[in-house]
Protein backbone atom coordinates (compact mmCIF):
# COMPACT_ATOMS: atom_id res chain seq x y z
CA UNK A 1 0.00 0.00 0.00
CA UNK A 2 2.82 2.36 0.93
CA UNK A 3 4.73 1.90 -2.29
CA UNK A 4 1.58 2.35 -4.32
CA UNK A 5 0.97 5.67 -2.61
CA UNK A 6 4.50 6.78 -3.34
CA UNK A 7 4.07 6.17 -7.05
CA UNK A 8 0.73 7.95 -7.28
CA UNK A 9 2.02 10.98 -5.41
CA UNK A 10 4.57 11.85 -8.05
CA UNK A 11 1.75 12.69 -10.45
CA UNK A 12 -0.11 15.08 -8.17
CA UNK A 13 1.35 18.55 -7.97
CA UNK A 14 -1.15 20.77 -6.26
CA UNK A 15 0.27 24.19 -5.38
CA UNK A 16 -1.88 24.38 -2.25
CA UNK A 17 1.05 23.40 0.05
CA UNK A 18 2.95 26.36 -1.31
CA UNK A 19 0.04 28.67 -0.52
CA UNK A 20 -0.06 27.35 3.06
CA UNK A 21 3.69 27.95 3.42
CA UNK A 22 3.24 31.44 1.92
CA UNK A 23 0.47 32.17 4.43
CA UNK A 24 2.74 31.05 7.25
CA UNK A 25 5.55 33.32 6.05
CA UNK A 26 3.08 36.21 5.88
CA UNK A 27 2.16 35.52 9.51
CA UNK A 28 5.84 35.85 10.43
CA UNK A 29 6.06 39.13 8.57
CA UNK A 30 2.95 40.28 10.46
CA UNK A 31 4.63 39.29 13.72
CA UNK A 32 7.61 41.40 12.70
CA UNK A 33 5.35 44.38 12.06
CA UNK A 34 3.69 43.99 15.48
CA UNK A 35 6.99 43.62 17.33
CA UNK A 36 8.39 46.66 15.49
CA UNK A 37 5.67 48.74 17.18
CA UNK A 38 7.03 47.69 20.55
CA UNK A 39 10.63 48.27 19.50
CA UNK A 40 12.05 51.20 21.46
CA UNK A 41 14.72 52.07 18.91
CA UNK A 42 17.57 51.64 21.41
CA UNK A 43 20.62 49.48 20.90
CA UNK A 44 19.86 47.70 24.17
CA UNK A 45 16.39 46.75 22.94
CA UNK A 46 17.71 45.62 19.55
CA UNK A 47 20.57 43.51 20.92
CA UNK A 48 19.28 42.11 24.26
CA UNK A 49 15.57 43.07 24.36
CA UNK A 50 16.25 45.36 27.33
CA UNK A 51 16.85 42.21 29.44
CA UNK A 52 13.09 41.87 29.81
CA UNK A 53 12.27 38.34 28.55
CA UNK A 54 10.16 36.17 30.88
CA UNK A 55 10.23 32.39 31.54
CA UNK A 56 7.92 31.25 28.74
CA UNK A 57 9.57 33.32 26.01
CA UNK A 58 13.04 32.30 27.22
CA UNK A 59 12.09 28.61 27.13
CA UNK A 60 10.62 28.85 23.67
CA UNK A 61 13.38 31.00 22.22
CA UNK A 62 16.19 28.89 23.70
CA UNK A 63 14.55 25.65 22.62
CA UNK A 64 13.70 27.00 19.16
CA UNK A 65 17.27 28.22 18.77
CA UNK A 66 18.92 24.95 19.78
CA UNK A 67 16.62 22.84 17.59
CA UNK A 68 17.85 23.32 14.03
CA UNK A 69 16.94 21.70 10.74
CA UNK A 70 18.59 18.65 12.23
CA UNK A 71 15.88 18.22 14.88
CA UNK A 72 13.19 17.25 12.38
CA UNK A 73 14.86 16.50 9.06
CA UNK A 74 18.23 15.19 10.22
CA UNK A 75 16.95 13.12 13.15
CA UNK A 76 14.52 11.25 10.92
CA UNK A 77 17.27 10.63 8.37
CA UNK A 78 19.78 9.58 11.01
CA UNK A 79 17.31 7.10 12.55
CA UNK A 80 16.69 5.74 9.06
CA UNK A 81 20.44 5.13 8.79
CA UNK A 82 21.39 4.05 12.33
CA UNK A 83 18.20 2.90 14.05
CA UNK A 84 16.42 3.95 17.22
CA UNK A 85 19.68 4.42 19.17
CA UNK A 86 19.93 7.89 17.62
CA UNK A 87 17.60 9.16 20.36
CA UNK A 88 19.99 8.09 23.12
CA UNK A 89 22.98 9.22 21.09
CA UNK A 90 21.76 12.74 20.41
CA UNK A 91 18.48 13.59 22.11
CA UNK A 92 18.31 12.27 25.67
CA UNK A 93 21.99 13.14 26.12
CA UNK A 94 21.16 16.70 25.04
CA UNK A 95 18.25 16.81 27.49
CA UNK A 96 20.66 16.15 30.35
CA UNK A 97 23.64 18.18 29.14
CA UNK A 98 21.79 21.24 27.78
CA UNK A 99 19.87 21.75 30.99
CA UNK A 100 23.04 21.25 33.02
CA UNK A 101 24.73 23.97 30.97
CA UNK A 102 21.75 26.31 31.38
CA UNK A 103 21.83 25.79 35.15
CA UNK A 104 25.57 25.69 35.81
CA UNK A 105 26.80 28.13 33.16
CA UNK A 106 23.84 30.10 31.80
CA UNK A 107 22.65 31.51 35.11
CA UNK A 108 26.14 32.60 36.13
CA UNK A 109 26.82 34.21 32.77
CA UNK A 110 23.47 36.00 33.02
CA UNK A 111 24.50 37.37 36.42
CA UNK A 112 27.95 38.43 35.19
CA UNK A 113 26.46 39.93 32.04
CA UNK A 114 23.84 41.89 33.96
CA UNK A 115 26.27 43.18 36.56
CA UNK A 116 28.88 44.34 34.07
CA UNK A 117 26.55 45.18 31.20
CA UNK A 118 27.89 42.69 28.69
CA UNK A 119 26.06 42.00 25.46
CA UNK A 120 28.34 39.47 23.79
CA UNK A 121 30.46 36.49 24.74
CA UNK A 122 33.61 38.24 23.54
CA UNK A 123 33.00 41.25 25.78
CA UNK A 124 32.85 38.82 28.67
CA UNK A 125 36.02 36.94 27.75
CA UNK A 126 37.94 40.14 27.05
CA UNK A 127 37.02 41.51 30.45
CA UNK A 128 37.50 38.23 32.34
CA UNK A 129 40.98 37.70 30.88
CA UNK A 130 41.91 41.38 30.48
CA UNK A 131 42.87 40.75 26.88
CA UNK A 132 41.81 42.53 23.72
CA UNK A 133 43.75 40.02 21.64
CA UNK A 134 41.61 37.19 22.96
CA UNK A 135 38.57 38.88 21.44
CA UNK A 136 40.21 39.32 18.07
CA UNK A 137 41.27 35.65 18.07
CA UNK A 138 37.87 34.39 19.18
CA UNK A 139 35.78 36.54 16.80
CA UNK A 140 36.77 34.87 13.49
CA UNK A 141 36.63 31.43 15.12
CA UNK A 142 33.07 31.94 16.32
CA UNK A 143 32.05 33.38 12.95
CA UNK A 144 33.68 30.43 11.15
CA UNK A 145 31.73 28.02 13.36
CA UNK A 146 28.41 29.88 12.99
CA UNK A 147 28.46 30.31 9.19
CA UNK A 148 28.27 26.55 8.42
CA UNK A 149 25.47 26.40 10.97
CA UNK A 150 23.60 29.05 8.92
CA UNK A 151 24.43 27.15 5.77
CA UNK A 152 22.86 24.01 7.23
CA UNK A 153 19.65 25.95 7.87
CA UNK A 154 19.42 27.40 4.39
CA UNK A 155 20.29 24.13 2.65
CA UNK A 156 17.89 22.25 4.92
CA UNK A 157 15.08 24.65 4.03
CA UNK A 158 15.97 24.35 0.35
CA UNK A 159 15.96 20.55 0.49
CA UNK A 160 12.57 20.44 2.19
CA UNK A 161 10.93 22.85 -0.25
CA UNK A 162 12.49 21.10 -3.22
CA UNK A 163 11.18 17.76 -2.01
CA UNK A 164 7.69 19.03 -1.33
CA UNK A 165 7.20 21.10 -4.49
CA UNK A 166 8.17 18.41 -7.01
CA UNK A 167 5.93 18.70 -10.06
CA UNK A 168 4.46 22.09 -9.16
CA UNK A 169 6.26 24.12 -11.85
CA UNK A 170 7.34 21.68 -14.57
CA UNK A 171 7.65 24.39 -17.23
CA UNK A 172 9.77 26.72 -15.12
CA UNK A 173 12.07 24.30 -13.29
CA UNK A 174 12.99 21.26 -15.41
CA UNK A 175 14.83 19.50 -12.55
CA UNK A 176 18.28 18.00 -12.09
CA UNK A 177 19.73 15.16 -14.15
CA UNK A 178 21.11 12.36 -12.00
CA UNK A 179 24.09 11.23 -14.09
CA UNK A 180 24.37 7.92 -12.26
CA UNK A 181 20.82 6.82 -13.04
CA UNK A 182 20.12 8.97 -16.10
CA UNK A 183 16.85 10.10 -14.50
CA UNK A 184 15.64 13.65 -13.93
CA UNK A 185 15.14 14.42 -10.24
CA UNK A 186 13.04 17.17 -8.65
CA UNK A 187 11.32 18.08 -11.93
CA UNK A 188 9.12 21.11 -11.42
CA UNK A 189 10.40 21.71 -7.89
CA UNK A 190 11.35 25.09 -6.44
CA UNK A 191 15.17 25.22 -6.45
CA UNK A 192 17.18 25.82 -3.30
CA UNK A 193 18.30 29.31 -4.32
CA UNK A 194 14.73 30.61 -4.33
CA UNK A 195 13.88 29.07 -0.97
CA UNK A 196 17.10 30.46 0.50
CA UNK A 197 16.30 33.91 -0.81
CA UNK A 198 12.75 33.87 0.57
CA UNK A 199 13.75 32.44 3.97
CA UNK A 200 16.59 34.96 4.39
CA UNK A 201 14.32 37.84 3.39
CA UNK A 202 11.54 36.90 5.81
CA UNK A 203 13.92 36.34 8.74
CA UNK A 204 15.82 39.54 7.98
CA UNK A 205 12.53 41.45 7.84
CA UNK A 206 11.32 40.47 11.26
CA UNK A 207 14.66 40.75 13.04
CA UNK A 208 15.34 44.14 11.49
CA UNK A 209 11.90 45.21 12.64
CA UNK A 210 12.43 44.40 16.30
CA UNK A 211 15.88 42.92 16.95
CA UNK A 212 16.28 40.11 19.47
CA UNK A 213 12.83 40.76 20.98
CA UNK A 214 11.33 40.08 17.58
CA UNK A 215 13.48 36.96 17.23
CA UNK A 216 12.29 35.75 20.66
CA UNK A 217 8.63 36.25 19.71
CA UNK A 218 9.11 34.59 16.34
CA UNK A 219 10.98 31.74 18.02
CA UNK A 220 8.15 31.17 20.47
CA UNK A 221 5.59 31.14 17.68
CA UNK A 222 7.70 28.93 15.44
CA UNK A 223 8.57 26.52 18.24
CA UNK A 224 4.87 26.01 18.95
CA UNK A 225 4.25 25.48 15.23
CA UNK A 226 7.00 22.92 14.69
CA UNK A 227 6.19 20.98 17.86
CA UNK A 228 2.50 20.71 16.98
CA UNK A 229 3.11 19.88 13.33
CA UNK A 230 5.71 17.30 14.33
CA UNK A 231 3.14 15.48 16.45
CA UNK A 232 0.53 15.75 13.66
CA UNK A 233 3.03 14.34 11.16
CA UNK A 234 3.71 11.45 13.50
CA UNK A 235 0.04 10.59 13.90
CA UNK A 236 -0.73 10.86 10.18
CA UNK A 237 2.37 9.04 8.93
CA UNK A 238 1.96 6.22 11.45
CA UNK A 239 -1.65 5.88 10.32
CA UNK A 240 -0.60 5.69 6.67
CA UNK A 241 1.92 2.99 7.57
CA UNK A 242 -0.84 0.84 9.03
CA UNK A 243 -0.77 2.05 12.64
CA UNK A 244 1.83 2.07 15.40
CA UNK A 245 2.02 -1.68 15.95
CA UNK A 246 2.07 -2.61 12.26
CA UNK A 247 4.73 -0.01 11.45
CA UNK A 248 7.02 -1.30 14.19
CA UNK A 249 6.32 -4.93 13.28
CA UNK A 250 7.52 -4.17 9.74
CA UNK A 251 10.81 -2.97 11.22
CA UNK A 252 11.17 -6.15 13.31
CA UNK A 253 10.44 -8.28 10.25
CA UNK A 254 12.50 -6.42 7.64
CA UNK A 255 15.28 -4.47 9.33
CA UNK A 256 15.53 -5.69 12.92
CA UNK A 257 18.87 -3.90 13.44
CA UNK A 258 16.89 -0.62 13.44
CA UNK A 259 15.27 -1.82 16.66
CA UNK A 260 18.73 -2.08 18.22
CA UNK A 261 21.86 0.06 18.43
CA UNK A 262 23.92 -2.38 16.37
CA UNK A 263 25.03 0.40 14.02
CA UNK A 264 26.33 2.62 16.83
CA UNK A 265 29.62 1.99 18.59
CA UNK A 266 29.65 2.00 22.40
CA UNK A 267 32.57 4.40 22.63
CA UNK A 268 30.93 6.57 20.01
CA UNK A 269 27.76 6.62 22.12
CA UNK A 270 29.72 7.50 25.25
CA UNK A 271 31.79 10.28 23.70
CA UNK A 272 28.88 11.76 21.76
CA UNK A 273 27.70 13.13 25.08
CA UNK A 274 30.37 15.81 24.80
CA UNK A 275 28.79 17.28 21.66
CA UNK A 276 25.80 18.93 23.42
CA UNK A 277 28.24 20.92 25.56
CA UNK A 278 28.40 23.13 22.48
CA UNK A 279 25.40 25.09 23.81
CA UNK A 280 27.70 26.54 26.44
CA UNK A 281 29.67 28.34 23.73
CA UNK A 282 26.99 29.18 21.16
CA UNK A 283 27.28 32.97 20.88
CA UNK A 284 23.60 33.29 19.94
CA UNK A 285 22.53 31.33 23.00
CA UNK A 286 24.74 33.47 25.22
CA UNK A 287 22.87 36.48 23.88
CA UNK A 288 19.50 34.84 24.57
CA UNK A 289 20.56 34.13 28.16
CA UNK A 290 21.28 37.82 28.60
CA UNK A 291 17.73 38.72 27.59
CA UNK A 292 16.34 37.04 30.73
CA UNK A 293 14.59 39.40 33.11
CA UNK A 294 15.70 37.53 36.26
CA UNK A 295 17.82 34.53 37.13
CA UNK A 296 14.68 32.62 38.07
CA UNK A 297 13.56 32.99 34.44
CA UNK A 298 15.90 30.07 33.73
CA UNK A 299 13.95 27.61 35.90
CA UNK A 300 11.29 26.74 33.33
CA UNK A 301 13.87 26.45 30.53
CA UNK A 302 16.04 24.06 32.56
CA UNK A 303 13.14 21.80 33.56
CA UNK A 304 11.15 21.74 30.32
CA UNK A 305 14.02 21.43 27.85
CA UNK A 306 14.44 17.61 28.17
CA UNK A 307 10.66 17.18 27.84
CA UNK A 308 10.49 19.32 24.74
CA UNK A 309 13.35 17.37 23.19
CA UNK A 310 11.40 14.17 23.81
CA UNK A 311 8.23 15.62 22.24
CA UNK A 312 10.09 16.56 19.05
CA UNK A 313 12.61 13.73 18.72
CA UNK A 314 10.72 10.55 19.71
CA UNK A 315 8.20 10.87 16.83
CA UNK A 316 10.99 11.70 14.35
CA UNK A 317 13.05 8.67 15.40
CA UNK A 318 10.06 6.37 15.07
CA UNK A 319 9.22 7.79 11.62
CA UNK A 320 12.83 7.18 10.55
CA UNK A 321 12.92 3.52 11.58
CA UNK A 322 9.42 2.90 10.27
CA UNK A 323 10.46 4.20 6.86
CA UNK A 324 13.38 1.75 6.91
CA UNK A 325 11.04 -1.08 7.90
CA UNK A 326 8.59 -0.16 5.12
CA UNK A 327 11.37 -0.22 2.53
CA UNK A 328 10.91 3.42 1.64
CA UNK A 329 14.04 4.96 0.14
CA UNK A 330 14.77 8.68 0.18
CA UNK A 331 15.41 10.52 -3.11
CA UNK A 332 19.01 10.15 -4.24
CA UNK A 333 19.59 7.86 -1.24
CA UNK A 334 19.93 11.04 0.81
CA UNK A 335 18.50 10.27 4.29
CA UNK A 336 17.90 13.98 4.92
CA UNK A 337 15.38 14.01 2.08
CA UNK A 338 13.33 11.27 3.75
CA UNK A 339 10.93 13.36 5.84
CA UNK A 340 9.92 15.73 3.01
CA UNK A 341 9.32 12.72 0.79
CA UNK A 342 7.18 11.00 3.43
CA UNK A 343 5.19 14.17 4.00
CA UNK A 344 4.54 14.69 0.33
CA UNK A 345 3.89 11.14 -0.75
CA UNK A 346 2.21 9.51 2.23
CA UNK A 347 -0.11 12.24 3.40
CA UNK A 348 -1.50 13.34 0.03
CA UNK A 349 -3.41 16.14 1.72
CA UNK A 350 -2.10 19.40 0.29
CA UNK A 351 -3.15 21.45 3.32
CA UNK A 352 -1.47 19.05 5.71
CA UNK A 353 1.62 18.87 3.50
CA UNK A 354 1.77 22.66 3.52
CA UNK A 355 1.33 22.82 7.28
CA UNK A 356 4.04 20.25 7.95
CA UNK A 357 6.39 21.96 5.51
CA UNK A 358 5.76 25.21 7.35
CA UNK A 359 6.56 23.37 10.60
CA UNK A 360 9.90 22.19 9.26
CA UNK A 361 10.71 25.69 8.01
CA UNK A 362 9.73 27.01 11.45
CA UNK A 363 12.34 24.79 13.10
CA UNK A 364 14.95 26.06 10.68
CA UNK A 365 14.08 29.74 10.85
CA UNK A 366 13.84 29.74 14.64
CA UNK A 367 17.58 29.06 14.70
CA UNK A 368 18.53 31.33 11.82
CA UNK A 369 17.00 34.46 13.35
CA UNK A 370 18.99 34.34 16.58
CA UNK A 371 22.17 33.57 14.68
CA UNK A 372 21.59 36.53 12.37
CA UNK A 373 21.08 38.95 15.28
CA UNK A 374 24.07 37.49 17.09
CA UNK A 375 26.39 38.04 14.14
CA UNK A 376 25.38 41.68 13.89
CA UNK A 377 25.78 42.13 17.63
CA UNK A 378 29.25 40.62 17.69
CA UNK A 379 30.49 42.73 14.80
CA UNK A 380 29.03 45.94 16.23
CA UNK A 381 30.20 45.47 19.80
CA UNK A 382 33.31 43.33 19.55
CA UNK A 383 34.92 44.91 16.53
CA UNK A 384 33.55 48.36 15.66
CA UNK A 385 32.56 49.80 19.05
CA UNK A 386 35.48 48.11 20.74
CA UNK A 387 38.00 49.61 18.31
CA UNK A 388 36.40 53.01 17.70
CA UNK A 389 34.75 53.65 21.08
CA UNK A 390 31.06 53.45 21.86
CA UNK A 391 30.63 57.21 22.17
CA UNK A 392 31.32 57.70 18.47
CA UNK A 393 28.08 56.00 17.49
CA UNK A 394 24.47 56.82 18.30
CA UNK A 395 22.04 54.00 19.11
CA UNK A 396 20.64 54.31 15.60
CA UNK A 397 24.12 54.06 14.08
CA UNK A 398 24.88 50.97 16.19
CA UNK A 399 21.69 49.29 14.97
CA UNK A 400 22.51 50.19 11.37
CA UNK A 401 26.01 48.77 11.75
CA UNK A 402 24.59 45.54 13.16
CA UNK A 403 22.09 45.27 10.33
CA UNK A 404 24.78 45.96 7.73
CA UNK A 405 27.00 43.17 9.00
CA UNK A 406 24.06 40.78 9.20
CA UNK A 407 23.24 41.47 5.54
CA UNK A 408 26.90 40.92 4.57
CA UNK A 409 27.22 37.58 6.38
CA UNK A 410 23.81 36.35 5.28
CA UNK A 411 24.71 37.34 1.71
CA UNK A 412 27.96 35.39 1.92
CA UNK A 413 26.20 32.37 3.39
CA UNK A 414 23.55 32.60 0.70
CA UNK A 415 26.26 32.53 -1.97
CA UNK A 416 27.76 29.44 -0.31
CA UNK A 417 24.44 27.62 -0.79
CA UNK A 418 25.28 27.54 -4.52
CA UNK A 419 28.27 25.32 -3.65
CA UNK A 420 26.77 22.96 -1.08
CA UNK A 421 29.26 20.69 0.66
CA UNK A 422 28.41 16.99 0.58
CA UNK A 423 27.11 15.50 3.82
CA UNK A 424 25.91 18.83 5.17
CA UNK A 425 24.77 17.37 8.51
CA UNK A 426 28.22 15.88 9.08
CA UNK A 427 29.45 19.45 8.86
CA UNK A 428 26.98 20.32 11.62
CA UNK A 429 28.53 17.77 13.97
CA UNK A 430 31.97 19.27 13.27
CA UNK A 431 30.64 22.75 14.06
CA UNK A 432 29.10 21.53 17.30
CA UNK A 433 32.34 19.71 18.14
CA UNK A 434 34.26 22.98 17.72
CA UNK A 435 31.90 24.85 20.04
CA UNK A 436 31.90 21.95 22.52
CA UNK A 437 35.70 21.92 22.61
CA UNK A 438 35.64 25.57 23.69
CA UNK A 439 33.43 24.61 26.63
CA UNK A 440 36.39 24.08 29.03
CA UNK A 441 37.20 27.75 28.46
CA UNK A 442 33.81 29.10 29.52
CA UNK A 443 33.43 26.62 32.37
CA UNK A 444 36.87 27.33 33.81
CA UNK A 445 36.37 31.07 33.44
CA UNK A 446 33.40 30.87 35.80
CA UNK A 447 34.50 28.21 38.27
CA UNK A 448 38.32 28.19 38.36
CA UNK A 449 39.90 31.39 39.65
CA UNK A 450 43.33 30.18 38.55
CA UNK A 451 42.42 30.27 34.82
CA UNK A 452 44.78 32.69 33.13
CA UNK A 453 44.82 34.68 29.91
CA UNK A 454 47.58 32.49 28.50
CA UNK A 455 45.67 29.35 29.50
CA UNK A 456 42.56 30.66 27.71
CA UNK A 457 44.52 31.48 24.58
CA UNK A 458 46.26 28.08 24.65
CA UNK A 459 42.90 26.34 24.96
CA UNK A 460 41.44 28.21 21.96
CA UNK A 461 44.49 27.64 19.76
CA UNK A 462 44.69 23.97 20.73
CA UNK A 463 41.05 23.56 19.73
CA UNK A 464 41.78 25.18 16.36
CA UNK A 465 44.85 23.03 15.67
CA UNK A 466 43.54 19.65 16.84
CA UNK A 467 40.08 20.36 15.41
CA UNK A 468 41.61 21.51 12.12
CA UNK A 469 43.76 18.39 11.77
CA UNK A 470 40.89 16.01 12.50
CA UNK A 471 38.48 18.02 10.33
CA UNK A 472 40.91 17.77 7.43
CA UNK A 473 41.38 14.04 7.94
CA UNK A 474 37.73 13.31 8.61
CA UNK A 475 35.89 15.49 6.10
CA UNK A 476 38.09 17.57 3.79
CA UNK A 477 40.50 14.85 2.64
CA UNK A 478 37.86 12.21 1.85
CA UNK A 479 35.71 14.83 0.11
CA UNK A 480 38.62 15.93 -2.10
CA UNK A 481 39.58 12.37 -2.95
CA UNK A 482 35.99 11.31 -3.60
CA UNK A 483 36.22 8.63 -0.93
CA UNK A 484 32.87 7.44 0.39
CA UNK A 485 32.95 6.49 4.06
CA UNK A 486 30.31 4.35 5.71
CA UNK A 487 29.18 5.80 9.02
CA UNK A 488 30.68 8.59 11.13
CA UNK A 489 34.35 9.51 11.28
CA UNK A 490 35.70 8.08 14.53
CA UNK A 491 39.10 8.16 16.21
CA UNK A 492 39.77 4.93 18.08
CA UNK A 493 36.02 4.35 18.10
CA UNK A 494 35.43 7.77 19.69
CA UNK A 495 33.86 10.91 18.32
CA UNK A 496 36.59 13.40 17.33
CA UNK A 497 35.18 15.85 19.88
CA UNK A 498 36.62 13.67 22.64
CA UNK A 499 40.17 14.26 21.38
CA UNK A 500 39.70 17.97 20.67
CA UNK A 501 37.92 18.57 23.98
CA UNK A 502 40.58 16.73 26.00
CA UNK A 503 43.42 18.58 24.25
CA UNK A 504 41.74 21.95 24.72
CA UNK A 505 41.02 21.29 28.41
CA UNK A 506 44.56 20.00 29.04
CA UNK A 507 46.11 23.07 27.37
CA UNK A 508 43.95 25.35 29.49
CA UNK A 509 44.89 23.68 32.77
CA UNK A 510 48.59 23.18 32.06
CA UNK A 511 49.26 26.66 30.69
CA UNK A 512 47.17 28.31 33.43
CA UNK A 513 49.18 26.52 36.11
CA UNK A 514 52.44 27.55 34.41
CA UNK A 515 51.53 31.24 34.23
CA UNK A 516 50.91 33.94 36.80
CA UNK A 517 47.38 33.92 38.24
CA UNK A 518 45.17 36.95 37.63
CA UNK A 519 44.73 39.46 40.50
CA UNK A 520 42.19 38.43 43.15
CA UNK A 521 40.27 41.71 43.12
CA UNK A 522 39.73 41.34 39.38
CA UNK A 523 38.61 37.71 39.59
CA UNK A 524 36.18 38.60 42.40
CA UNK A 525 34.21 40.51 39.78
CA UNK A 526 33.54 37.26 37.92
CA UNK A 527 33.09 34.67 40.65
CA UNK A 528 29.36 34.71 41.29
CA UNK A 529 28.75 34.39 45.03
CA UNK A 530 25.41 32.81 45.76
Amino acid sequence: MTLALLNVAAETASRTPLLVVGFYLMLLIGLGVISSRLFRGTASDFFVAERSIGPFLLLMSVFGTTMTAFALVGSTGKAYELGNGVYGLMASASGIVHSAVFFLVGIKLWAIGKRHGFTTQIQYFRARFQSNALGYVLFPILIALVVPYLLIGLLGAGAVMRGVTVGMFPDTFPGVLNEATGRVMFAGAIPTWITGLVVCSVVLFYIFAGGLRSAAWANAFQTIVFMITGVIAFVLISSKLGGLTAATQAVIDNTPEHMTRARIGKLQYLTYMLVPLSVGMFPHLFQHWLTAKKASTFKLTTIAHPLFIGIVWVPCILIGIWAAGAGITPPGNNPNALLPKLVQTLLQDPYMTGLLTAGILAAIMSSLDSQFVCLGTMFTHDIVLHAAGKDRFSDRAQIMLGRGFIVAVVGLTYLLTFFPPPKIFDLAVWCFSGFASLFPLVFASIYWRRTTRAGAMASILTMVVTGGVLFYDGLVKPTLSGEVREGDYLVGGMMPVAIIFAASAAALVIVSLMTQPPPDDHIDQFMVKI
Partner: protein, 83 residues
Protein backbone atom coordinates in the same frame (compact mmCIF):
# COMPACT_ATOMS: atom_id res chain seq x y z
CA UNK B 1 25.47 22.37 49.93
CA UNK B 2 22.35 21.12 51.71
CA UNK B 3 21.59 17.41 52.01
CA UNK B 4 18.60 17.89 49.69
CA UNK B 5 20.86 19.41 47.07
CA UNK B 6 23.36 16.57 47.44
CA UNK B 7 20.58 14.03 46.93
CA UNK B 8 19.30 15.90 43.86
CA UNK B 9 22.77 16.02 42.30
CA UNK B 10 23.21 12.34 43.15
CA UNK B 11 19.97 11.57 41.32
CA UNK B 12 21.16 13.58 38.33
CA UNK B 13 24.37 11.54 38.24
CA UNK B 14 22.28 8.38 38.45
CA UNK B 15 20.10 9.51 35.51
CA UNK B 16 23.26 10.27 33.53
CA UNK B 17 24.68 6.83 34.33
CA UNK B 18 21.40 5.15 33.38
CA UNK B 19 21.58 6.92 30.04
CA UNK B 20 24.33 4.43 29.16
CA UNK B 21 21.93 1.45 29.07
CA UNK B 22 24.21 -1.15 27.56
CA UNK B 23 21.68 -3.87 28.42
CA UNK B 24 19.30 -2.43 25.79
CA UNK B 25 21.92 -2.43 23.04
CA UNK B 26 20.94 -5.50 21.05
CA UNK B 27 17.38 -6.14 22.09
CA UNK B 28 14.52 -5.96 19.59
CA UNK B 29 11.79 -6.07 22.25
CA UNK B 30 8.96 -3.59 22.18
CA UNK B 31 6.87 -1.95 24.90
CA UNK B 32 3.32 -0.55 24.56
CA UNK B 33 3.04 -2.72 21.44
CA UNK B 34 5.12 -0.44 19.20
CA UNK B 35 7.99 1.27 21.01
CA UNK B 36 11.51 -0.24 20.83
CA UNK B 37 12.50 -0.87 24.41
CA UNK B 38 15.76 1.08 24.04
CA UNK B 39 13.86 4.11 22.76
CA UNK B 40 11.29 3.84 25.56
CA UNK B 41 14.11 3.69 28.11
CA UNK B 42 15.75 6.80 26.69
CA UNK B 43 12.41 8.64 26.56
CA UNK B 44 12.13 7.73 30.24
CA UNK B 45 15.59 9.25 30.77
CA UNK B 46 14.29 12.53 29.31
CA UNK B 47 11.32 12.45 31.70
CA UNK B 48 13.54 11.57 34.65
CA UNK B 49 15.98 14.37 33.77
CA UNK B 50 13.15 16.90 33.75
CA UNK B 51 11.91 15.62 37.12
CA UNK B 52 15.36 15.81 38.72
CA UNK B 53 15.96 19.29 37.29
CA UNK B 54 12.64 20.33 38.84
CA UNK B 55 13.84 18.96 42.17
CA UNK B 56 17.16 20.79 41.80
CA UNK B 57 15.37 24.06 41.09
CA UNK B 58 13.56 23.57 44.39
CA UNK B 59 16.39 22.46 46.65
CA UNK B 60 19.49 23.78 44.88
CA UNK B 61 18.48 27.16 43.51
CA UNK B 62 21.27 29.74 43.87
CA UNK B 63 19.25 32.24 45.91
CA UNK B 64 21.90 34.94 46.03
CA UNK B 65 22.54 35.19 42.33
CA UNK B 66 20.16 38.07 41.64
CA UNK B 67 21.56 40.13 44.52
CA UNK B 68 25.07 39.52 43.21
CA UNK B 69 24.04 40.57 39.70
CA UNK B 70 22.43 43.77 41.01
CA UNK B 71 25.69 45.03 42.57
CA UNK B 72 27.50 47.80 40.67
CA UNK B 73 30.30 46.80 38.34
CA UNK B 74 33.80 47.70 39.42
CA UNK B 75 35.38 46.81 36.12
CA UNK B 76 37.46 49.47 34.48
CA UNK B 77 37.47 48.19 30.93
CA UNK B 78 35.21 46.89 28.25
CA UNK B 79 31.88 47.56 29.87
CA UNK B 80 29.01 46.75 27.56
CA UNK B 81 27.47 49.43 25.46
CA UNK B 82 23.93 48.20 25.75
CA UNK B 83 23.44 47.86 29.45
Amino acid sequence: MSSGEKIAWGLMLLVTALHFDLWNWDTTEVVFGFMPVGLAWQAGISLAAAAVWALLMKVGWPTGVEDWAAQPSELEQDKGEAR
